[in-house]
Assembly symmetry: C2
Homo-oligomer: 342 residues x 2
DNA sequence: CTGAAAGCGCTAACAC
DNA sequence: GTGTTAGCGCTTTCAG
């Protein structure tokens, strides 16, 4: 492959002039520039990214750090959702000519991959997507002033850039919506283990809304679900055998809502008449099955997180940490019964 | 951040000795090595990957090249499937300490991203995942002897490494299975537009099996589906209004089979008695809904493709191109009716 | 076993 | 406007 020297020789100029012409970092005569460009084309020259990185100490690569695929993270997050996030990130980095490295901690090694990527300066920054709260490597990044954006909730004890939806808030809103419709016996299906911050926040938002409306919180109205439709089905089956059957249910995610619908259909429960239903994500599923659902725009999370990271990377002066909240919208459909009242 | 010089100074040796010790590329006295390792630990040293790359001209990064997310490729491929592929790739590259760059062609730019990544030597090789047949950048790679593996079918006109399932073959097997069960009126739902090689191959395999059994091919028995469950539903609705209703149907993918099941349930068609059903992928869906399905192990495709690529990158002498076919297995469940005969 | 030094391909002062 | 040159941080001969 051709190097800058080859171009210099071919265009009969010095290598610095080639560099200046290519990067626009110093004025170059029109005539000279033309010769250089011709040489570039002729020799099919592309500047070595590593050589350039070595001197500029910029790699133009950011790393999307995700949990090990084995952990079933994708299933947890939902299928189209990772896709949405990648789309958001992709649009931003395409625009600014950055590359995307996808990485995760190996199950085997105890060595933190994030730390070595940062230490070796393989990437310029991190986008961290992790629904759990393993914060050790994050402290490392903070300590070493390495740019990153955490796609999740702000932690009390850490000062960092975050982008997230406010899971507490949207759950509060979902719950309040049902309360306004007159429901008091409202059950909650968590989207996953409560160890996940996302699940916890949604559960807390639910409880807060109940409390603020003087509705007693009943532990029996909580079902720990997961990413499968069945967990919605099973949840409903469980709620159904309680002494006091809930009149409304909040599914932790759209796919669970689907399970609720299925159970209801099979067991003669009419939605929304016998059972009001709301959910999270506002995915295709919600639209298709007329489920009232509040949006959690992973596309926008990805986009804003990438923007924030690149800003952080490219600004000379320190930016004060931002905690972006991607706004959510409640899409009211027939499953919650509020449309009947219009 | 510390550099090799700092380590040398701290350990009171020359930088070459540090390099030797760290890479094991020359014998170093046990005593000296210990001092060096201590310095490394103390200064938290990680060798710069760019500097290293510059001299070794290896980046230890491979690129998974996929269609632009906007193209809905993920939906086409299926949801858990990309996940499976990433898992396969991830296991291999983790093991060998490679990094994974995720990239795609920008919708906007006409400039081929693959060519610039190759030209700038940003990566050591490519894993190309594309169900369509846009082969221009591939010729570029071949021309420049740049390592890559194509995850898809071998093309007649190109000599390259490929890893794939044999879509023709598995479709032939699916069809033959139904024929053996006595079916003659067998309909086919394509998994996507026939422009996709994958769809075409499956369709061709279907036709070949019919032909080999002297069954007339009826164009009306073809329905062009897509990645949505509805397309299976719609297909069945369409087949149902034909003069001669098929007695068996081959869904191009599991999610479509689900649509077929749904339609059948709603319209009093019993499976397998009134309608035999087979599908592709053998995903969770197939297992859950007792659909006979032939496996297409994207996990193994990813794994073998990554292996093949790394082998190619690390071998000094040219390897003759390989065309790996990942074996598939037909999982017989109740939807095809063959179990009744046991 | 260890050190000196060349050089990977590029950028960016600094001269002219 | 353009050329000379000193590195960026590392690997790797080559001496000793």
């Amino acid at each position: 492959m051709a190097t800058i020297k080859d171009i210099a020789r071919e265009a009969k100029v010095s290598i610095s002039t080639v560099s200046f012409a290519l990067n626009g970092t110093a004025p170059v005569a029109e005539e000279t520039k033309k010769r250089i460009m011709e040489a570039v084309k002729k020799l099919n020259y592309v500047p070595s990214s590593t050589a350039r990185s070595l001197v500029t100490s910029k790699t133009y690569t950011i790393c999307l750090f995700i949990p090990n695929p084995k952990s079933n993270i994708f299933k947890f997050v939902g299928n189209t959702l990772l896709n949405d996030m990648l789309q958001g990130i992709g649009e931003v980095i395409d625009e600014q000519n950055y590359n995307l490295l996808l990485s995760w901690d190996q199950a085997s090694s105890s060595h933190s991959k994030m730390e070595s990527l940062a230490g070796a300066k393989t990437v310029d920054g991190f986008l961290i997507f992790s629904p759990t709260d393993q914060m050790e490597p994050i402290s490392f990044l903070i300590q070493h002033h390495f740019p990153f954006v955490f796609m999740g909730p702000q932690m009390d004890n850490l000062t960092m850039n975050t982008v997230n939806v406010d899971n507490f808030d949207i759950s509060y809103r979902n719950t309040s919506h049902l309360i306004k419709l007159g429901h008091k016996d409202i059950a909650f299906i968590s989207p996953g283990s409560l160890d996940y911050l996302l699940s916890e926040d949604r559960y807390e938002g639910y409880k807060a809304a109940l409390q603020d409306n003087n509705i007693r919180i009943d532990d029996r109205y909580l079902y720990i679900g997961d990413s499968r439709e069945e967990s919605g089905y099973e949840a409903m089956k469980y709620f159904r055998q309680l002494k006091k059957i809930p009149s409304a249910v909040i599914a932790g995610r759209d796919i669970q809502a689907l399970g609720v619908i299925k159970y209801s259909a099979e067991n003669g429960l009419r939605i929304p008449d016998d059972l009001a239903l709301v959910s999270f994500e506002n995915s295709d599923i919600a639209e298709k099955h007329q489920i009232t659902s509040i949006s959690t725009e992973l596309y926008h999370i990805g986009k804003e997180a990438a923007r924030l990271l690149l800003k952080q990377i490219n600004y000379k002066r320190k930016l004060s940490p931002q905690n972006l909240i991607i706004p959510s919208e409640l899409f009211i459909r027939s499953s919650c019964g509020s449309q009947k009242q219009l």
